[in-house]
């Protein structure tokens, strides 16, 4: 388990309900995420985990016929009230399950976000690219071919490139959605180590199907089942023999899901 975080609230989610047409993807969930913690989010497929992440950076609004009620506050500000949604998204790094290398060079993949934020100074960009690729455990493999296409990398490398891109705009919050699906176990461990290091600088929400990954990495873990928050608790409790909810115990121990 990672270091103990402070208890300043970074994200406050209150009574959050998300509907896609008739289907409820999240049913009135409420919890807080503390600054510099790694919060694990576990739950079976279709339970609303990805929807939760998309609501935080408001990419949920790009989905057709979606309705969101309740509130998501970052540092006390409701994300709905943010006028410049691009600025909001720049504060949040997102990594989704399938790796997406942009059809640009490896260098440009990582420099894309800083450039769109107005940074064009070459040495500053060089520094960012190297730092992010190192943080994503990719630098050693690509440092001699930064000009080759990001889309030609292997799946696992592209996922690490995606992580590097998510870190390139220096987010305060990093949301990872099943980041290790396309990554081999050894690289996964390397990235997990890096996440632990990053924790001192940013708040991390780790959505994962791998219960043991949440156990290894997170300070606290939330269990979402059938669009409802069943339990959020310290890992010591969630992964003990007596979590607050029986369902959590059964899910964590593989009785179902």
């Amino acid at each position: 388990m990672a270091q103990t975080p402070n208890t300043t609230k970074k994200i406050e989610i209150a009574d959050l309900t998300v509907r896609y047409g008739e289907m409820e993807a999240l049913k009135g969930i409420s919890f807080d995420v503390y600054e510099n913690e790694i919060l694990g989010v576990i739950g079976p497929a279709q339970s609303g985990k990805t929807t939760l992440l998309k609501t935080i950076n408001r990419t949920i609004e790009l989905e057709p016929s979606v309705q969101v009620s309740g509130s998501v506050k970052i540092d006390g500000t409701d994300v709905k009230s943010v006028k410049n949604v691009n600025q909001l998204r720049r504060r949040i790094g997102m990594v989704f399950p399938l790796p997406v290398g942009l059809p640009l060079s490896i260098y440009d993949n990582v420099a894309f976000a800083p450039r769109t934020a107005g940074i064009h100074n070459r040495s500053e960009l060089d520094e960012t690219v190297e730092r992010c690729l190192q943080q994503a455990a990719l630098w050693d493999e690509v440092k001699d071919r930064l000009n080759s296409l990001g889309t030609k990398l292997s799946g696992g490398q592209q996922q690490r490139l995606t992580i590097a891109r998510a870190l390139s705009h220096q987010p305060e919050i990093l949301c990872l959605d099943e980041f290790s699906i396309a990554v081999d176990p050894v690289t996964t461990m390397r990235i997990e180590d890096i996440l632990k290091e990053l924790q001192s600088q940013i708040t991390i929400i780790l959505v994962t199907n791998l219960v043991q990954q949440a156990r290894r990495l997170a300070n606290r873990t939330a269990f979402i089942f059938e669009s409802e928050l069943i339990e959020i608790n310290d890992n010591d409790v969630i992964f003990s023999d007596s979590p607050a909810n029986r369902l959590t115990f059964e899910y964590v121990n593989g009785t179902f899901g």
Partner: protein
């Protein structure tokens, strides 16, 4: 384990290796059907190519006696029974360029809006429906629209401008449709990845979408050159005339509000309206029109092949 393997080898259900590739009635029938299907498809492909090859060869053979530089650079003379095709050739180039100058930017930008910005709503659905239907409107209807809107209402008279705008209206929906298709071929995941980093729509379009769809967009636009060059009906009512002498070799010979000659119209007149036209003159005009169209199409194909070879994912 070894014992199991040995026993399975001698099991009566397992086909002996030497018999595995022996044809059965069933497999022979399947192979026969496969050969018949392949043969039918091949013959159909040949049937498709054959007329094109025959037309091109036939036209070139018939036109050969007249094809020379003078044929391109002299006006028709002697009541269209002699001379070359300078005036109609230049007229066609004018209307193609002007119509594309109007329709390409409007079409491409409208398609970018529809594909990248517009949200799904009844309004965008109506626009998309209108685009599809406009693309299917017969060219003679466009001609009548051009006559009413540009020649009479906008008081342009029968002119290069009126005809070009009519052609632009005609090609616009096809450019919009082909551009939308090219934009749609760029995976949505690329856009989402950009938006997630805080990039605006325009930054995403400029940085990722347009550079990766430009081959499809250009191909769509270029293919409209051949359509605009070949159409007769829309220009017949809006500006093309039977005969107009212009100064030979002067590429600025037509003004925007002048009436003009065009190759497609010229060919129609030579074949139906003028008695005693030498055969080679008709075929020569047809060869130039067809040659121009084929050259433009070849350019589009070459461009597409080149840009595809640089595909980045």
């Amino acid at each position: 384990m070894a014992t199991d393997l040995n026993s399975s080898r001698t099991s009566p259900e397992i086909v002996a290796p030497q018999l595995m590739f022996t044809a059965t009635d069933q497999s022979r029938k399947k192979q026969l059907m496969e050969n018949i299907a392949r043969g039918i498809f091949f013959v159909m492909t040949l049937l498709m190519i054959l007329p094109l090859v025959l037309i091109v060869v036939y036209l070139f053979v018939k036109a050969a006696p007249i094809l020379s530089p003078e044929f391109f650079f002299t006006n028709p003379t002697n009541g269209m029974r002699a001379g070359g095709i300078w005036a109609p050739l230049l007229g066609t180039i004018y209307i193609v360029i002007i119509s594309l100058l109007v329709s390409a930017p409007i079409g491409v930008l409208a398609a970018v809006y529809l594909n990248e910005y517009a949200r799904e709503s009844w309004f965008t659905r109506i626009i998309n429906l209108a685009v599809v239907n406009l693309a299917g409107v017969p060219s003679i209807v466009h001609a009548l629209f051009g006559l009413g809107a540009f020649v009479y209402f906008a008081r342009m008279g029968r002119s290069v401008l009126a005809a070009s705008l009519t052609l632009a209206i005609m090609t616009l929906p096809v450019i919009i449709a082909s551009t939308k298709e090219a934009l749609g071929a760029v995976p949505m995941a690329f856009r989402e990845a950009c938006w997630n980093t805080g990039a605006t729509r325009w930054q995403t379009i400029r940085g990722i979408v347009l550079p990766n769809s430009i081959s499809g967009i250009l191909t769509g636009v270029i293919l409209q050159v051949s359509r605009a060059a070949g159409e007769t009906a829309p220009i017949m009512f809006t500006g093309a005339v039977f005969f107009k002498a212009i100064s030979e070799g002067d590429v600025l010979a037509y003004g925007l509000l002048d009436r003009f000659m065009a190759l497609s119209m010229h060919l129609y007149q030579l074949s139906t309206q003028v008695p005693g036209v030498p055969e080679a003159l008709e075929y020569g005009t047809a060869v130039v029109l067809l040659g121009a169209v084929l050259m433009v199409n070849a350019l589009a194909i070459a461009l597409r092949v080149y840009l595809r070879s640089r595909k980045r994912w």
